[in-house]
Amino acid sequence: MKVLVPVKRVVDYNVKVRPKSDGSDADLANLKMSINPFCEIAVEEAVRLKEKGIISEIIAVSVGVQQAQEQLRTALALGADRAILVVTDVAIEPLAIAKCLKAICDKENPQIVLLGKQAIDGDNNQTGQMLGALTGYPQATFASELTLSNDGARVKREVDGGLQTLSLNLPAIVTTDLRLNEPRYASLPNIMKAKRKPLDTITPEELGVDVTPRTSLVNVRLPAERQAGVVVEDVAALVDKLKNEAKVIS
């Protein structure tokens, strides 16, 4: 069984991002870039399924700038077998990414596509669901447990009220939540080995996909700054403030 794992290049989650001085976009100059944490969980899940013998091949895909090769190399070091970069300089949106992934699915015929539930830059939480629409594959978003066999996928999902379990026919789409697994670190020998694994590059045009953005970014700004308040001496002072100053308790 083949698995496709899309990964996104994003600003590292430890980095605080600020707007450019003209407010036209986020200022990403010289910031550390990493594989999106949710995508990393997807790669880890694929590797575990391969270790269990359920999956035979892991294909990592990224849609984005040339430098996204770095994140694909990370995925290869973590255990992906080969990688495909759909290279574009367009500020690419989830719908266009999903269209590129659909075209890759048509070529590769994966039985399962494992994606992060959202990227920590745009916080859109759309690509997996959109790929589901375009391919017609069933979807299980926000997965915290995945059981895969040749007969289908059983997925436990994190939903507002608790947990929900769905059963999906294959091929299927699963998007990962935080508690699906804890990703491993790539070992040095695996990082070296990853440099020799195949990484193909293709363009959206070659895939027949129009990636022209549908939305435009008018500006970005900092949110209203919250003023730090006061430090109170003790519990009695806290209760007094809440009752008499903030008036949020009676």
Binding site: M130, Y137, L166, R179, T215, A228, I249
Partner: protein, 309 residues
């Protein structure tokens, strides 16, 4: 302009989250219809008809729409939604699951989690875990939008006079099925709608000790939240997680107990009216957003607090 709202419901009742989308649709302007797709969902449709500002309730009552399976409900939304300028739903896990799928069927780039409406095609939304607000303008003919519940007031849910129309269209993809659910039963207020939220972090130290949070919350009639660290450590269930990838809350009073205040947690609670932080580390980032900070050992402060309230 014409708006179609996708109702959040459990067949028996309309979920309060739906009401925030109604207010967002009113800000956009034009007629507002609401889709109630479910199985034996008459009661939820009746409640939707009571919401002030709704013109029509579209009721799609079919076993295929039970449990809101995305494979079945998204094509229904795409079919009905093609007649509207705006399709909206409050950004619950149900809506986040379904709306992007419907948007792609309509060949629309959806806009997630809007926090303000600038005009009928321009919206504000938080990005990078809320560290910036982006203003985005859509060029699609139909706007497919999820709405941040805490950013819009709830519409009035009684006194409305909408008509209910039956939608007979059936979409049954047959490639997914509901197996079961583990839903936490609780008498506490719902986390995203509560006036007071008491949240615990990793400093609680264990699932047993996390019960101190429940105790204080029950004493105050509050909902219970948790940091990602506390959920990851197994002290609290996933549906209590407040933050970038968990629930977004904005209560009148948010009490952060033993929570350091990682950016992804702040993203979920910094719009609360009053924030209280109790932490023994005076350098903890949570104090930079708290109105009232108490530098103290929570195991000492919590019993005192409970006694004093």
């Amino acid at each position: 302009m014409s708006n179609l709202i996708i109702a959040e419901h459990d067949n028996a009742s309309l979920k309060a989250a739906t009401l925030n989308s109604v207010t967002a649709a009113q800000a956009i302007g034009g007629d507002i219809d609401i889709l109630v797709a479910g199985n034996a969902c008459q009661a939820a449709a009746d409640q939707a008809a009571q919401v002030v500002g709704i013109t029509r309730v579209l009721m799609a009552d079919n076993t295929a729409y039970d449990h809101a399976l995305a494979e079945n409900v998204a094509p229904l939304i795409a079919e009905l939604g093609a007649n509207y300028t705006h399709i909206l739903a409050t950004a619950t896990t149900t809506a986040k699951n379904i709306l992007p799928r419907a948007a792609a069927l309509l060949d629309v780039q959806a806009i997630s989690d809007i926090s303000a409406i600038i005009s009928s095609d321009t919206f504000e939304r938080p990005v990078y875990a809320g560290s910036m607000i982006a203003t985005v303008k859509s060029s699609d003919a139909i706007k497919v939008i999820t709405v941040r519940g805490t950013a819009f007031d709830a519409a009035v849910n009684e006194g409305g006079t909408a008509t209910i129309e039956m939608i007979l269209s059936e979409h049954d993809a047959g490639n997914s099925s509901f197996v079961g659910e583990e839903v936490a039963k609780s008498d506490r207020p719902e986390l995203t709608a509560a006036k007071t939220v008491v949240s615990g972090g990793r400093a609680l130290g264990s699932e047993e000790q996390f019960s101190m949070i429940y105790q204080l919350a029950d004493h105050m009639g509050a909902a219970v939240g948790a940091s990602r660290a506390a959920v990851d450590a197994g002290y609290a269930p996933n549906d209590m997680q407040v933050g970038q990838t968990g629930k977004i809350v904005a209560p009148d009073l948010y009490m952060a107990i033993g929570i350091s205040g990682a950016i992804q947690h702040l993203a979920g609670m910094k719009d609360s009216k009053v924030i209280v932080a109790i932490n023994k580390d005076e350098e903890a980032p949570i104090f930079s957003v708290a109105d009232y900070g108490l530098v103290a050992d929570l195991f000492v402060a919590l019993p005192d607090l409970e006694a004093a309230l």
